[in-house]
Structure formats: structure tokens, C-alpha cells
């Protein structure tokens, strides 16, 4: 009966349907985008994470590696004080020291060699994937993908640096970052070859646990306190701009949801008050046939519920389509992944729309159900 009424007399219910659907669509599109972007970014953050960087006080840097920019002319001279590594280790056991050294490649070009402590490095760079294996011996190196293709070498090849032969134990898969263009080798080997024993250009530290969280901030503060005269910074490998965008989308959600609920409730309530007036005769008739107030409320609320659920389905579809169209424009990287469709978003929108409909309709419907049949019919 409720559905027959809607089918043959859609009227204002269509306005409510459209209004609720638009409200739901906006909320859904924001939720979809925030979810998809959030997932993409947290994957990146988990992979690369946030790191604390301990470096000499900055001078004229232009070459960069791992978030640190170095001036090619001056950086060779830049290094941390000798006590820095031990002090950093005392503060936080998981630190990865690095020496950056510009040397000459096989074709006489400048090459950035990065000396690392392999066990620490591997702990830090869990997101790295490579062809081959990690170097173990001093005579082995790991090549960035760009450098490997520039030199046309693969895993197992031999390259010459510092007048010596090194075996390419592995080639890093392309990262899109500075790693692509460097040679990674054992820290002590590089210190020896470069004639800089004990030198460390910078130290990286990462706290366990979810990236971008409080842990890194606290770690940074502790290291800064322990290592005066150095620069201690927190580096996120995910662009701040994208995190900012995600934050903005997320921050829009509560306000938008509140507005959607308010607008939806207003629409439903207004339509139901009008309905209560227009249908007094009908309600009076049903009362005369022995419908209890509860029966009439059930009939009228079923109509509202049907409209609200249809609106949720429409709104979810439209919102998902909208998010699918918008996300590639706002954040191409996550847009390329395709939308993440979370069933809880659908369930939440369905439940939300139904709740808004039922709550907003409750009082007007109750008033309608209490119609006095005698005066409503007036012809008896």
C-alpha cells in the first residue's frame, strides 16, 4: 500500500528523493576519495615512512639524496662530528649512518656513491625491491635503476669505481626518487676508498609503528636534544601537499555530513508535514477501518523508508561516480589506482539515510496518525 502510493503519487516524494540522494552523493564522494587516497598514502607512508634525519648544519646544498640536498662543491667537506653516530645509537638503537661521496664513474662522469650499513639500511628501507640481492661483501654494490640502465649493466656484472672492480649484487627497482641515480655500497668500504675513515654525512633513524605518527616527532626531539650542533629534521617521503589534500578532504567530511543530515531532515520533515495535511482524509479512512495509530505510522514510515533507501542507493552510485571522476583530477596517483569501494560506506549511507528519514518523519507522521477520524471524514 505504501509502495503503491509512491508509485502512483510520487509528487513531493521525488523532491525528497532527489534531495537525500544529492546529500548522500556528496558525502559518499568525499568518503570514497578520502578512503582511496588515505589507503594509497598510508601504503606509501608505511613503505617509506617518516624518518628522522641527522645532518650537519646546512650550507650550500644542491645535490640531493634521500631528502637531503647537498651542494656538489662543498658537501664533500660536510660531515657530522665524529661522536654523532655513537650518540645517536645511544639514543635510538636503529640508526642508519650514511656517507655521501662524489666519485668518478666508468665514463668519467660524476657519480654519487652512498655508503650504508647494510643491516640498518635494510631495516629502514623495507619498501625497496630489487633484482638480485643485497650486497654482503665489501666488493659488492647495489645500483640505482637509472644508473644501471645508463651503464647498461645488470645484476652479476662488474663495474669499476675508485680504480677497483665491484660486483653488482643487485639493481634496485625504479623508485622515482634519488635512489635511482646512485651507487650504494658498504659504509666502511666507501670510507676507506674515499679516504674518509669514520666519516658520516648524515644519519637516518626511524621509529617503529605507523608512520607520520607521534613516535617520529618524539624521536626527533630526543635526537635533537642528544646531538647539539647538528640539524635534526623529520622527513616524510610522501609529499606534504598530498597529505594536506587528504587532510582537507577528511576535514570536510564531518561538516558535509552534518549539513547533509540537516538538509535531508528538513526536506523530509517539510514533506511529511505537508503529507500529514494532505492525507488527513486518507488517514481518517484507515482509522475508520480499524487501523491503529501504530499501523498508520508503519504505513507512512514505510513510505519514507522506501524513499530514503532509494535515495541512499542513488546517492551512493552518484557519489561513487563523482569520486571516480574527481579523484584523478585532485590526486592523480591515487586516482590511477581506481576507487576503493568500501561496503561500509554503502552500509553507512543506507543506515544514515534511513535514520534521517525515519527520525525527521517521526513527529509529522505521528501527528498524522493521531488524526481524529470523525473530523477528518466529516461526512459521517
Amino acid at each position: 500500500m505504501a509502495l503503491a502510493h509512491l508509485r502512483r503519487r510520487p509528487g513531493k516524494a521525488l523532491i525528497v528523493l532527489a534531495g537525500l540522494a544529492v546529500a548522500a552523493a556528496i558525502v559518499v564522494s568525499l568518503l570514497d576519495m578520502a578512503l582511496t587516497m588515505g589507503e594509497e598514502l598510508s601504503r606509501e607512508l608505511e613503505g617509506r615512512g617518516a624518518r628522522v634525519l641527522i645532518s650537519p648544519v646546512k650550507q650550500d646544498w644542491t645535490l640531493s639524496y634521500s631528502g637531503l640536498t647537498l651542494g656538489s662543491a662543498s658537501f664533500q667537506a660536510q660531515e657530522l662530528p665524529v661522536w654523532a653516530l655513537d650518540r645517536a645509537r645511544e639514543t635510538h638503537p636503529e640508526v642508519a649512518p650514511k656517507l655521501l661521496h662524489v666519485t668518478t664513474g666508468p665514463d668519467g662522469e660524476a657519480v654519487l656513491a652512498v655508503g650504508v650499513d647494510w643491516s640498518e639500511e635494510r631495516r629502514l628501507r623495507t619498501h625497496w625491491s630489487l633484482e638480485g640481492r643485497y650486497p654482503e661483501a665489501a666488493g659488492e654494490v647495489l645500483l640505482g635503476s637509472e644508473l644501471a640502465s645508463q651503464w647498461d649493466v645488470r645484476q652479476g656484472a662488474t663495474i669499476r669505481l675508485f680504480g677497483r672492480a665491484y660486483e653488482v649484487a643487485g639493481v634496485l627497482d625504479e623508485t622515482g626518487l634519488e635512489e635511482d641515480g646512485v651507487v650504494l655500497m658498504s659504509l666502511t668500504e666507501l670510507q676507506d676508498r674515499a679516504g674518509r675513515p669514520g666519516s658520516v654525512t648524515f644519519i637516518e633513524a626511524s621509529a617503529p609503528g605507523p608512520a607520520a605518527g607521534k613516535a617520529q616527532g618524539e624521536l626527533k626531539d630526543r635526537l635533537a636534544a642528544a646531538l647539539p650542533g647538528t640539524e635534526v629534521t623529520l622527513v616524510r617521503d610522501v609529499e606534504e601537499a598530498r597529505l594536506g589534500l587528504l587532510d582537507r578532504i577528511r576535514s570536510l567530511i564531518p561538516l558535509t555530513a552534518v549539513l547533509a543530515v540537516a538538509a535531508g531532515s528538513f526536506l523530509v520533515a517539510a514533506q511529511q508535514y505537508a503529507m500529514a495535511r494532505e492525507r488527513t482524509r486518507e488517514v481518517g479512512l484507515l482509522r475508520a477501518f480499524g487501523y491503529r495509530e501504530g499501523h498508520i505510522m508503519a504505513v507512512l514510515l514505510t513510505e519514507v523508508l522506501a524513499v530514503a533507501c532509494a535515495a541512499a542507493v542513488l546517492g551512493w552510485s552518484a557519489g561513487t561516480a563523482l569520486a571516480g571522476a574527481l579523484l584523478p583530477l585532485l590526486d592523480p596517483a591515487s586516482g590511477a589506482l581506481g576507487l576503493r569501494l568500501d561496503p561500509t560506506v554503502f552500509a553507512a549511507v543506507l543506515a544514515g539515510s534511513a535514520a534521517v528519514g525515519l527520525t525527521a518523519a517521526y513527529w509529522p507522521v505521528r501527528r498524522a496518525a493521531r488524526t481524529d477520524p470523525a473530523s477528518a471524514l466529516r461526512m459521517l
Binding site: 503503491a4 486518507e282 479512512l285 477501518f289 499501523h295 470523525a374
Partner: protein, 221 residues
């Protein structure tokens, strides 16, 4: 056996200049199987009386007993159940819901019972058969003539076989030939052990009545 016993029923409606007395102490008894015709000038309280007898309109004073039930001592929900079980209303101007089919209109009083849906359809079809409208069950009321709509309203009033049918000017909007056929339907109803109270303006209808009640100024003449 008395189906209805109304004792000294009074009804006042509030209005701008004080209460208006629509019924000034009406008492009546209706036996099972009677067809009582209520006549009287417009405004004499006929519709008000019908509403009060059917549990639709609480009297200001007096009591109504139907089948031993003191109708207005019932709570809201019980009163609704009473109307559903005991009373079939046929309203002026048919009062069909235009967005429901003929069959759905007839099924309206059954929707709040616990009769299984399939049985409800059977009962509605049987009621439509009783008024000669089997072929029109899937139509909308707007597609029917006035006489056919009236018959749908009657089918709806008898669908759950209530002992009491209350009809307010059921032939008022019909031409005399159609009205005659409708009256024959009512005659058939009370013939089958049901009681009918019918408000009418048409003197031709009175010959179907077992008794005539004449009202004037809210009182029985």
C-alpha cells in the same frame, strides 16, 4: 437479540460561539438482521449518530454498547480493533483511495488483521463477486462509474464480514436506477444476518428498511 444499545447519547461540537449540540439525547436499540433507515433534514445529526454507533466519534455523554461491548470504554487501540472487527463503513462519496486498485481498496480493512495475504486476496475477490465486480479487480477507482465505485465501497465494508454495516447516504450520488441496485445489495446483506444502519434522503429506499428512524435537531422524532 440486540446488537446495538445506545443510551441517551449526546454530542456537542466545540465552535466559535460555544458548543453546538448535534445530538440531544438519542437512545436506540438495533437487533441483529435489521436494516434501520435514518432520515431527517440536513444538520439533524444523522452522520454524527452513525459515527458514534461505529466507534468513530466519542459522544459527549451517554453510552453505546455493541454486542455487549461498552464501545467508548475501550482504549484507542482496542477501539480501532473494535471498528475493524465489528463495523463496515460505507461513506458518502465512496472514499476510495485513488492510487490503489479496486482489489487493494477492498483489502484495506484486512491489512491490519493477521489473515494470511493469500486468504486476504480470496476474501476481497469474494466480496467483489458479491457486488458483481469480479472483472474489475485490477482497475483503478477512477476508471469506474459512480455506481461501480459505490459497490467497491460496499465490498470493502463487508470484506471481513462485520456484523454491523453503517452507510451514510450510499445512494445520494447515484442515479435512481443505480441506487436501486445498491439498495438491493444492502437488502441482501441484512437478509444474511447482518445489521445495517443507513442514512438516506431517498424515500424510495425506505421500503427496504425494517424500521425507520426520523431525526430532527439532534433528537429522534
Amino acid at each position: 437479540m440486540a446488537l446495538i444499545e445506545a443510551v441517551d447519547v449526546r454530542k456537542e461540537y466545540p465552535s466559535g460561539d460555544g458548543p453546538v449540540a448535534a445530538l440531544r439525547g438519542v437512545s436506540l436499540t438495533l437487533d441483529t438482521g435489521e436494516l434501520l433507515a435514518v432520515v431527517g433534514p440536513s444538520g439533524s445529526g444523522k452522520s454524527t449518530l452513525l459515527g458514534i454507533l461505529g466507534g468513530l466519534n466519542p459522544p459527549t455523554a451517554g453510552s453505546v454498547t455493541v454486542d455487549g461491548i461498552d464501545v467508548y470504554s475501550l482504549g484507542q487501540d482496542r477501539l480501532a480493533d473494535f471498528r475493524n472487527e465489528y463495523v463496515g463503513f460505507v461513506f458518502q462519496e465512496f472514499q476510495l483511495l485513488p492510487y490503489l486498485t479496486v482489489l487493494q481498496n477492498v483489502m484495506l480493512p484486512l491489512a491490519v488483521t493477521d489473515i494470511p495475504p493469500r486468504r486476504q486476496v480470496e476474501m476481497a475477490e469474494k466480496a467483489l463477486e458479491g457486488v458483481g465486480l469480479v472483472g474489475k479487480a485490477r482497475r483503478l477507482p477512477g476508471q469506474l462509474s459512480g455506481g461501480e465505485q459505490e459497490r467497491v465501497a460496499i465490498a470493502r465494508a463487508i470484506v471481513n464480514e462485520p456484523p454491523l454495516i453503517l452507510a451514510d447516504e450510499p445512494t445520494g450520488a447515484l442515479d435512481s436506477a443505480t441506487g436501486e441496485r445498491i439498495m438491493e445489495l444492502f437488502a441482501g446483506l441484512h437478509g444474511r444476518g447482518r445489521s445495517v444502519v443507513m442514512v438516506t434522503h431517498n424515500p424510495d429506499n425506505l421500503r427496504y428498511a425494517t424500521r425507520v428512524l426520523t431525526m430532527k435537531d439532534g433528537a429522534v422524532q
